[in-house]
């Protein structure tokens, strides 16, 4: 019974390590791709669009895109979200670029037609550079924004409409300059938007937008989060496939090798607690406010999963694999004399079984690290239970001798 359990635990452990590898690689890729910052920006755009649609703010596409970009830049460029030195660097860069842009435009105004086009194109390039710099150094640094922070930033960005006390408006660029309102609300409007604010008006108004964000933030966040999760799962499936092929992870052969190599199974089973703990660290949802794992932390975790498999000499990989040796033997060039030369038919069968093994491993890795953490946690409980049982047997054995001795003494007495 024990050999099967140990083999099963060792097998599950290899799958856990493989799944953790997949998990870490997906997180590294998603960090490199900037998926989280993109998600935050998509959420802001979603809120902006929703509000415009609700209030009938109709903008032509280029204007709408410009307005959305201005809103995203305005929110994510808020100084409160960034380290001061980084923020100052961006501002200084922007100031220099804007000077250059202004100079180019001024020059273009005086230039001949032929030269003007080029100067204006150069000025556009400078604008694009500014946008890229801002996106890279400010917007793409924000991986998460809390509702309260967003609301505070919106409120902070608003200003009172000159001459209309009590009505606050937002930066002109956020909704296209034509859609700002400065008129006080009518009585009907007040009745209609009672729940929002007395100063609410149709069109665009800071209080309206503030309220809209308050109502729909969770929904927008949820939508983005679902999309993010879906994309992560798709990436995980692909990366699981990559890991299976790169490591030549043949589940059938692995199970057989682990069953025959008891020492290895025992060594692996001895690392269950350590790897389950790592699995929990990597897969459990971090507490609110905890920053996501840095690239360095992810790199170390990847090193660990790789090192565990290579140091424990888990029989996977291309070199010295069964299929590789059979292939070499088929070509009459295998150093391992224990591997018999297969016929073409046997080799074909081997390759078929190997591919089934790879496919099985891919399915098993696709179950994800949390699944294997759960399996191994339950298995750890089972091991403890069995070992306690073993311990009890030994406990009775240690007293057996004295009991027997006492029994004899009693008999002779």
């Amino acid at each position: 019974m024990f050999p099967y359990i140990e083999t099963a635990i060792a097998f599950a452990l290899v799958m856990l390590v493989g799944s953790l590898m997949v998990n870490v690689i997906v997180r590294i890729l998603s960090t490199l791709r900037g998926q989280r910052p993109d998600g935050v920006q998509d959420m802001l755009v979603q809120l902006h669009r929703g509000f415009c649609a609700e209030r009938g703010v109709a903008l032509a596409t280029p204007e709408r895109l410009r307005a959305e970009r201005a809103f995203v830049d305005g929110v994510l460029g808020a100084p409160v979200l960034h380290a001061p030195d980084k923020y100052d660097d961006v501002l200084a860069y922007e100031a220099r670029c804007k000077e250059r842009e202004a100079a180019l435009r001024a020059e273009a105004a005086k230039a001949t037609d032929a030269a003007r086009a080029k100067l204006l194109a150069d000025a556009e390039k400078v604008c694009a550079q500014v946008a890229a710099m801002r996106a890279k150094n400010l917007n793409n640094q924000i991986e998460h924004i809390r509702k309260g922070d967003l609301l505070a930033i919106i409120r902070g960005a608003s200003h009172e409409v000159p001459g209309v006390p009590g009505v606050r408006t937002l930066p002109a660029a956020w909704f296209g300059n034509a859609h700002q309102t400065s008129a006080p609300p009518t009585a009907e409007q007040r009745d209609e938007f009672q729940s929002i604010d007395a100063s609410a008006v149709p069109g665009v108004n800071a209080r309206d937008f503030h309220d809209y964000v308050q109502r729909w933030f969770s929904t927008a966040e949820c939508t983005v989060s679902n999309l993010f999760g879906k994309e992560q799962r798709r990436a995980a499936m692909a990366v699981a496939g990559l890991v299976v092929v790169a490591l030549n992870l043949d589940a059938l052969q692995l199970a057989r090798d682990l069953y025959h190599d008891r020492a290895l199974s025992e060594r692996l089973a001895g690392r269950v607690d350590e790897l389950v703990a790592l699995g929990r660290t990597l897969t459990d949802k971090p507490p609110e406010g905890t920053p996501p794992a840095s690239m360095d932390e992810l790199r170390v975790a990847l090193e660990k999963t790789t090192a565990v498999l290579s140091i424990e000499q888990v029989p996977i990989g291309w070199q010295n694999s069964y299929i590789a040796k059979r292939w070499c033997a088929y070509h009459d060039d295998c150093a391992d004399v224990t591997v018999l030369t297969p016929t073409a038919r046997q080799l074909f069968t081997d390759i078929l079984v190997w591919m089934i093994g790879l496919f099985a491993a891919w399915l098993l890795l696709s179950l994800g690290a949390p699944f294997w953490v759960g399996v191994l946690s339950n298995a750890a409980g089972l091991i403890n239970m069995l070992q306690t049982g073993k311990g009890d047997e030994h406990a009775t054995e240690t007293t057996a001798w004295s009991n027997e001795h006492q029994g004899r003494a009693r008999d002779s007495g």
Binding site: L29, L32, R33, G34, R234, A235, M237, A238, V239, A240, G241, L242, V244, V245, A246, L247, N248, E274, M295, V300, E303, K304, T305, T306, A307, V308, L309, S310, I311, Q313, V314, P315, I316, G317, W318, Q319, N320, S321, I323, A324, K325, W327, C328, H331, D333, C334, A335, L358, W362
Partner: protein, 546 residues
Amino acid sequence: MVVRNVAEWIVRRFWGYLPAAPIALFLGMVGYIGFCDPHFPCHAAELDLHLASEAAIPPDRPVATAKVAGIVDTFRYKPTGTEANAGIPYWIFKALPALFKDDPRFANASPGHEWDAFGMFGDADPAMTRASGIPRGMVLADTDVQLPGTVVGIGLKRVAFNCAACHQGEWLDDQDQRHLVDGMPNHSIDTQQFKTFIHDAMKSALFTPERVLEEIDHQLALAGHAALTRWERLVYTGVVTAMRQGDDNTGWMAKRPPNGPGRVDAFSAVKYEVLAVPDDGKLATVDLPSIWHQGNDIRPWHHWDGNTDNSRARNYGSVVGVGGSALSVRGVNVDQVAAWLDSSLGPPAETPFARKAATDPLVVRGKQLFGDLGCAHCHGTYDPATGQVERAADSSYMTSVVVDTDPRRWQAFDPGTAAALDGWGFARGIWPQNAFRPASPGYVPPPLDGIWARAPYLHNGSVPSLRALLTAPEDGAPPPRPAVFYRGSRRYDATTMGWEIAPTERGTGRALFKYDTSLDGNGNGGHAFYVADGDLDAMLAYLGTL
């Protein structure tokens, strides 16, 4: 930063193709194996840079008739993974002595034997023809990463240390024949001087791509090969530039007394260079130990302060200490050698002096004294016939004891260092949690197997011979141990039971290292256990049999 930007660009650009990547990789692998290289899975996946100069490296060849055991061959000639951070490309290694021929460290070196200046002598192993000409204890290895079941790397051979560098000793007999001993401390190698030289060279204005390429061409011409191609020049220019820009985190060494040959401060190297702990002024310099009989039955704790009982932590930690990384450690080689050290390797049978028989009256008397004077209480009684150590019931064997020897080493391995080292390896999966413990005051008294070959004595190698260690002082006087002596000689002094301590090596005239016991960490006090004059010869005769 550039790498990160490139990686970001690639991921963003090709993200859409990710689902097709596994199939593409599978078809690529199968296609390559099926149509290009059927034996690809049977060898390491090296990226061939097509460097003709690599093929020009003269190959080392084992002497077929020597019949050296496979594990001995692994110990002496197989890489351990130190090339990852400390390897030097072969042709640059060959060029260095000529590039820096005016360096004072090479002042007395004869051409072709420049590395002798660091006690790194050419190999004298009759079982191996080392045509590559690299010193004993160094190996040639491609730059590989040990992935699970698959080794991938770049086909650029680099020179790096392996186990034998520090743990294969040698001695010279009266006919100037060299005798190599596996597992014996290499008391002539000065790894710190070598490391300092390499770092100085990398930062020197003389180490420019132009000069290096010119000298490599010269070396290739000497070996009868064509000069570097344009492609090779481009590759080597990149390599030299990268070496010049490498981190310089070795400044801590200059703030401490030099180690000299046969000594090492491996824990400080890990602490300051790998763990990046701020310099706290501590030092942990020790004499290189012998590594025979490392099994838990004889040595349940490892290192002078017994800071670990974990064989893997000891071995992998050593590789990391001299340039390895978690993914470069060649687990198969290191584990095989470790198993050999833990089970089979014992002290040498051959000695540079006439060893007395165990039944010799002087030896019998010495053994009696060893027990009577209480030596066995701490060191146990090693039996060379069985390779076992007999321990008294209340023995202090391999438990930390304070005998007033220099405390710098055990003080250096404080709880913070232990935790940092422990966490580093655990986070990378190469040793278990709590593999290292902070040192208790004092050092663990080891068994005395092959003690003659372990001179100089005490943990810091501050007493040159057994006679100096055990000779009783005059009343009220300090122990008659030399305050200054010279280390690194390969000539054995059978009278004192230690290496000769003259300023130059007898016969070769090689200048030796002046060891000053007044310097920080070099103290020769403590272990005040002496043998009366009349009994000293008997004690030394007995110790010579172990």
